[in-house]
Amino acid sequence: MPIQYYIFFCLTLFSIGVIGVLTRRNAIIVFMCIELMLNAVNLLLVAFSKMHNGAALQIAPGSTAGIDAQIFVFFIMVVAAAEVSVGLAIIVMMFRNTHSVDINFLNRLKN
């Protein structure tokens, strides 16, 4: 499978995530879209990992080139988990005070 296809696919997912961030007003959905972006990147990294691995294997069988990307993905997931915990805590805190998760509602701070 040519790498471009993976890249295109991942970029599409990423962009959908971006569009979601831009068009939705619900903080949780926005956050979910960000997670979508992260996942797109994850897949991209894995694809690259397999690309480099494939290239390396042709030269040196048994090479583990490209494994770092998969580890990176692992770390992204870890971080995402931590982020989600904090993020949701913040959203909940916000909801407790304002009874809303609408980000357009968040405009006391401006200008």
Binding site: I7, F48, A69, I90, M93, M94, N97, L106
Partner: protein, 462 residues
């Protein structure tokens, strides 16, 4: 390495302290002692002592400048905690937890000053960011704080996404996360043209700009700085931002040639000029000093971005001096601001009459921010301009810089004017003698550096 280990340990200790005792003063003092230990540990490593001989497998690389920046930032943090200790207590009742968070942030900073791998950059940034989301929202009952926190969080996460996409591109191009030299064409000795690499770097550039609040990625800054509890704004705007710059430089020190020098000298000036423009111009019309300072910190970031322009010891010197001058002055101004009951400029009216010492100190801090000679801020700006000029920047860029510096004088001096030339009764929280004395320490440092700036670099060379 010492700094990372010790700060983590101290963070954990502070978490336990929060369970062990509810005496905030004790917690505070433990925190301060911890800071001292941290500084000492870092200095020890600078002198080659007590360094854990640990193979980082290319994840981290320690160099003199990184360690020195650590020391400086730790010291600034120490001064910050020393001055603002009591104010931190007043935000919720999590003193020890805050200290733990500070230590974790410092751990993140230590990583950002020494990373040698994009993974560590990513983790470092996250270690830095996540605690900041929390600190921003620490004033739970305050809607502004909530709002700032959520905004910061959403935008921060978004920029993390951009950062990761950038890293993925770079990985796709090079197959490695190391901060290597880009692939050079042996014939021309120029980097091989690789669009994926360049795109990755551009995305990285964007997300780093976001972290250091450069325009047009600065939008979170005013709202977050304004909404966050003032003590924490003071920290975020100084130490954290400084660390962001150090990381920024580390990434692009070498890598930027992969972007092509030409691209670099277009996009960087573009960002710098728009940052200066937005920061300075918008600050002019602010009624709230806190918000004005938020914008001014954007403007100052514009100046600090100059450090990225060139690639020599001048730039490092300039950035170090700028960080010290800017951070100390900002901490000083915020320390005064905290004591005001109302953050509007009018509330400063007549401060000089009521409390001449405080007014004088504030003036000094603002002078330093504005870059008036006799304060460290002047030399910071001077070194910066000197550095970019040496690096080959056109004079027009310097002229733009000073035009905006003049604009910055305009809004900083509005506060000075309010204090000295307008009659009024400022509403101010009671201030102990010791508090002012602490501020004098900052003032003296600024003045000394304002006359002998090279004291700061003696370590690096002598």
């Amino acid at each position: 390495m010492n700094a990372i280990i010790v700060s983590t340990l101290l963070g954990v200790i502070m978490m336990f302290v929060s369970w062990g005792t509810s005496n905030t003063k004790l917690q505070r003092n433990i925190g301060l002692v911890g800071m001292l230990v941290l500084i000492l540990a870092n200095i020890a490593q600078m002198n080659g002592w007590l360094s854990v001989n640990f193979d980082t497998k290319g994840m981290l690389a320690f160099n003199a400048i990184g360690l020195y920046v650590n020391t400086i930032l730790f010291t600034i943090t120490f001064i910050y905690l020393w001055i603002n200790g009591e104010e931190i207590d007043k935000i919720g009742n999590h003193t020890a937890d805050y200290y733990a968070i500070f230590f974790f942030i410092l751990c993140g900073i230590s990583i950002l000053t020494s990373f040698d791998n994009l993974l560590m950059l990513f983790i470092g940034i996250e270690i830095l960011s996540i605690p900041l989301y929390i600190l921003t929202g620490a004033d739970k009952k305050n809607l502004f704080s909530n709002e700032a926190s959520l905004k910061y969080f959403l935008m921060g996460s978004f920029s993390t996404g951009i950062l990761l996409l950038g890293i993925a591109f770079i990985y796709g191009a090079t197959g490695s996360f190391h901060l290597n030299m880009p692939i050079l064409n042996p014939a021309t000795n120029l980097p091989v043209e690789h669009f994926l690499m360049s795109a990755g770097l551009l995305l990285l550039f964007v997300s780093m700009n976001f972290k250091v609040s450069a325009a047009p990625f600065h939008f979170w800054t005013p709202d977050v700085y304004d909404g966050a509890p003032t003590v924490f704004t003071s920290f975020m705007a100084t130490v954290v931002k400084a660390a962001g710059f150090v990381a920024f430089i580390k990434v692009f020190e070498v890598q930027r040639i992969a972007l092509g020098q030409n691209t670099w000298i277009i996009i960087l000036p573009f960002v710098i000029v728009s940052t200066l423009l937005v920061g300075n111009i918008t600050a002019v019309f602010q009624r709230s000093v806190k918000r004005m300072l938020a914008y001014s910190s954007i403007a100052q970031a514009g100046f600090m971005l100059f450090a990225l322009y060139g690639n020599s010891t001048f730039n490092n010197e300039a950035l170090i001096l700028y960080i010290v001058a800017y951070s100390l002055a900002t901490i000083g101004v915020f320390a005064v601001l905290i004591k005001m009951k109302d953050y509007s400029i009018e509330s400063f009216n007549g401060l000089a009459k009521q409390n001449p010492a405080l007014a004088f100190l504030t003036t000094l801090f603002l002078f330093s921010l504005a870059g008036i000679p006799l304060t460290a801020g002047f030399f910071a700006k001077y070194y910066m301009l000197n550095a970019i000029f040496t690096a080959g920047a056109g004079i027009w860029l310097l002229v733009v810089a000073i035009l905006f510096a003049a604009v910055s004088v305009y809004y900083y001096f509005k506060v000075v004017q309010a204090m000295y030339f307008v009659e009024g009764a400022p509403a101010i929280h009671p201030i102990e003698k010791s508090y002012a004395r602490k501020l004098w320490v900052i003032a003296i440092i600024l003045l000394v550096l304002g006359v002998f700036p090279s004291l700061l670099f003696n370590y690096l060379y002598f």
